[in-house]
Assembly symmetry: D2
Homo-oligomer: 365 residues x 4
């Protein structure tokens, strides 16, 4: 049976993530080599779809990009064509311009749109699917907090970067008998903090899912002291919360539009802890965007490549409206309709948290 598909388009949306280029490469190579499709890429996610800003993707274009972080298609964080900011009569208004996107696809003769992105980007993918566009989704979140798939690419690279930082902080902490805090990504889900804390021999891990009591952290530090360990390592997710619900960064950055950037919970926590744990120097580091760029880990390259090939296969099978996913060790897919809004948080009573507690890690609770 001859396929009805002739031409497909890719776009990447949301924050960048190691593995995006490996997905782009795998979709493109499979589409061209295995199925003979023409492939193009929209630049800057949906904004490119709106502006019909696209580039052809061929074997040369995707050569040598598998290991590179970032996305050769660029990305934008907030562009939603169903609620898009446009200028109208000299005023900035928000309106649904998704029809423009649909028209552009038609105009270019694009049969299928492959959307690589997180929750927000995939919501639009679902909405385009509802409008009749043939869509395939590929999940992307460095925080690994999408419920519809077991693992997302980028996460493994992020925990390697965070663990490497913890390894480095260890030798300094030990030499100076210091308490070192490392703030890692994770506004809503603490997976990066939990995994890197387990791998990096942290003594305390603070997660959004397990509110902490600063006095319990101080207790842990003192307990270690009593057992002859005069240093401690604390990993804190950027979204970690104290039990009394204190908004930790409020006072310091009151005139800032983005409290996380000027300060960071790790800095505030170091400041507060030092008042309680008086005989230790306390130092903090905010890893920030270093966690989401650079060389893609081996694990993430393999996973991204599998996702990309699976996406192209779904196109060939004309099985649209789905997102590829990993279930256990198996690549599978799930309806986009069932993906949105289902986040995966660390289970405070789950195996990983119990594992951490078993080897003596405190969650400050």
């Amino acid at each position: 049976m001859a396929s009805n598909i002739k031409k497909i388009a890719l776009l990447t949306g949301g924050g960048d993530c190691p593995g995006l280029n490996a997905v782009i490469r795998a979709v493109t190579r499979t589409a061209i080599l295995k199925y003979g499709y023409e492939v193009v890429g929209y630049k800057f996610g949906y904004r490119g779809l709106y502006n019909n800003d696209l580039i052809p993707l061929d074997l040369d274009k995707v050569s040598g990009i598998e290991h590179r972080g970032g996305t050769i298609l660029y990305s934008s964080n907030k562009d939603n064509l169903f609620d898009y900011q446009v200028e109208e009569n000299g005023k900035i208004v928000k309106k649904d311009v998704s029809d423009v996107g649909v028209e552009n696809l038609k105009k270019e003769g694009i049969d299928v749109l492959v959307v690589i992105g997180g929750d927000g980007t995939l919501t639009s993918a679902r909405d385009f699917s509802r409008k009749g566009v043939k869509v395939i989704g590929v999940p992307k979140t460095i925080d690994n907090d999408l419920a519809a798939t077991d693992v997302t690419f980028g996460f493994n690279t992020a925990i390697e970067v965070a663990t490497d930082a913890l390894d480095r902080l260890h030798t300094t902490a030990e030499s100076h008998h210091r308490v070192m805090l490392l703030e890692v990504m994770g506004r809503n889900a603490g997976w990066i903090a939990l995994h890197s804390g387990l791998a990096g021999s942290a003594d305390v891990i603070l997660l959004p899912e397990i509110p902490y009591d600063i006095n319990k952290i101080a207790e842990k530090i003192k307990d270690r002291e009593k057992s002859g360990k005069l240093f401690s390592i604390i990993v804190v997710a950027e979204g970690a919360k104290s039990k009394d619900g204190e908004v930790v960064v409020s006072k310091i950055v009151e005139d800032s539009p983005d409290p996380i950037r000027l300060g960071g919970i790790a800095n505030k926590l170091a400041f507060d802890l030092e008042k309680i744990v008086k005989d230790h120097e306390i130092r903090s580091t905010v890893l920030g965007h270093v966690q989401r760029g650079g060389n893609t880990s081996t694990y993430d390259r393999v996973l991204s490549t599998r996702y990309g090939v699976a996406a192209a296969d779904l196109i060939h099978d004309e099985n649209f409206g789905n997102m590829v996913c990993l279930k256990g060790n198996e690549i599978s897919y799930v309806k986009l309709e069932n993906v949105i809004g289902h986040n995966k948080n660390v289970d405070p009573n789950g195996e990983l948290v119990r594992t951490a507690r078993s080897i003596g890690i405190s969650f400050g609770d």
Copy 2:
């Protein structure tokens, strides 16, 4: 209910593997902190059990070892107490000395033996279990070829090392228009070659599971040439076989006791390929033991820690004769009786091989 367990012993057997120390640390910490057991370690695997050569393991002893490759308990490759080489009346004979091991455990008051090892080591673990010893197994194989568990620690570190080598070979290959071969571990199973080949943008992957035809490899090189790619990267598992069953290293190393070491399939293949593909320089590298040592990857540290805690929990639950394992994302366990002799090979028609073929990778078949 008070536990009957007071004292446990650990041993590591077989080739070393990144993650062994993380398992030792996790078992020891959980045993001491959570369950209050006394912990000792036998040195050099079963040989230490035979000689009753043991050291106490406490929190200090396992401090700072999570990230380090190797094993603080040392290991030996071939010692099987059920068929052990001993001197008797001036002659070297093989006999079953497992009773000595059982006696030593009794003498030391050791209630449970935790055995960390691969197929051979776990076979003995099962046999000790059959003799009434309370045994817990932890799977170890850098080749990831144990059927009873989805992933073994050490494998992720090995593919990172192999992929890093491929990344390095790429720039040289490209600059000089060379064909570069990299020989990686995998005598019976090609998982390391397959994963690192996928991650390292290999053009050809040669596995024990898919016999190759050297002319097909040459064809692939020439096809790439035609499309303007004047270099090629080949990953070859040390156990890769040609279709005509040729024992590839025979002539070169006929007077050697260990053909793999003097030569290596990659060297022979480079030699033979150069005769066919005349206009390319061909170079080979045999990674060897570099793949199994050094810093343990983040993924392997987390997995090893989960295994170690799970082993200690099985002891507490008095659930003996089992091996911990990973099923999908879940830690579980399986009867040692069902573990032995079930290897997991690359499926020539499985998803991973199809993924590789989809993006244009040849298996030389």
Copy 3:
């Protein structure tokens, strides 16, 4: 001629630095293997000398430490026995307790004291030398700002960590068309910022030695925009200063005892730049202590080992009161009397700055 030296002591002072352990190992091995000395180490720098808190150093003790950051002798930042904080009659007072140190050396039969440290630590070394103690100095500063030696260990490791961070930030910056700031160490000297900026393809480098004008930075960003480069990378030394002498972190952290920690110049600069460069997102990362720990680079291990052996050789030659140093490619030594107070800053008109300007890097001036 029989040597008069029988026993030597080592101590490490000031902030830790990759390479300290390699120096300790090299001094100890040379002293024992080549010269037959007994070796001990004072813990926590001069504080250990005051408290006579020492440990024997033998071949086992220094085995396997060459690559590890930190110091097995621990360190303290501020202890100066010539102006030491003690309790007297219930009050905290500062007094010269250096005689206690001299007495302790005598009591232990220590003939020579090897002091590994920076400006402050070496000042005390000189002062002990003036009091008749046989002293050898080994220079340590991660900032590479000691005039008496061409290169100090730890610096190469620090610039590798900073450059790796820049590499990671690049892919994110490029994908999102962002401006990324990375704050690196360097309160008084900008060597780390300058070298990592050169190696990490920075667009702007801000140093303590070249005051910047924020409008010039904005100009550079806009110039790049015009040439089609919609992202920029800025490296900023923690001691960078604006031309109008603004104390950049003042307002944000007025109630903090340590302005650098809560905030950081990169955070403030990002905040201010965003007001000027309106159409770019600007993100900042403060690398902090991640730069001074962890695995020691190859270069630093070799340099540290050379320093350590040279220090032991100076002892054998009874050539005291000197500090080992590197001049060009040669290991040499210099009088401790001539070391103190001579810092080495980046020359705003020197070859390295001109090199950076030649390839288009702006210093914001």
Copy 4:
């Protein structure tokens, strides 16, 4: 004064080396941004000059290449236009075709040729200079054995790769009480073996400059055994020679055109050592081309950039016939006439070898 220079060409010759791209980038950016020259690059070294096979180099072309190993201009190993292999009347003959190169430069209006290469490539550069071509040389040798400069780029990256391999072998050697051999590059000069051996805590280092006696190596292994160290690490340069001048690989590879590739001295040495040191397993690894590719180290990026800018500055100063070099910490230049044929070998009595001996490293002599 207006410069007479309008257009320059670059070429890279000989084996590739991390840093080549950083040189190309620095020359190109400086030439364009600072001096306004037009820049082109010949592909495949002198072969491209002969075939007039060139590409324009602009800012875009050299963007994002600083960290990448290899050379975007490609390289060839053996093409010498003064003794070039051509077909004439159906026969392959060697003849001087350098005039073709000179003509091509004229035809393209190229005023200056920048030649980046090692001894052979620079010899031709000198010879073109003698023919009146305006030439600037940039030294390249991964072995660091050019006498005319203190350090060449690529060397630092190579010793980092070799040291990382040694670190990995250590944990395996220690766990199994093995002797591990690592063969590194260095046919004539042992700098890579010496530096990586010092940094990687080797027990024995074998260099071309210090012939070894296999019995002395065995002795060292046994001495370590007596002191409780049951493993040993040996680094061997590919050009290491035994005292009796044995051509170590002869028997094994008698039918091979390239003895080094099939076998390697490390493999042969392991084979021979095992006969003498009977109670140890001995394993060998040949690092090969992994040492010369991949990500360029921070040190090498800075050095390459300095060389590139200095080369462009020499052009502007119309100071031709020179090669840029590093003397101590200073960038300088030297007449090409004085460069050729002056190699720099490890001094068996120099400071580095004495340093190694002082900490107990054996050279097998």
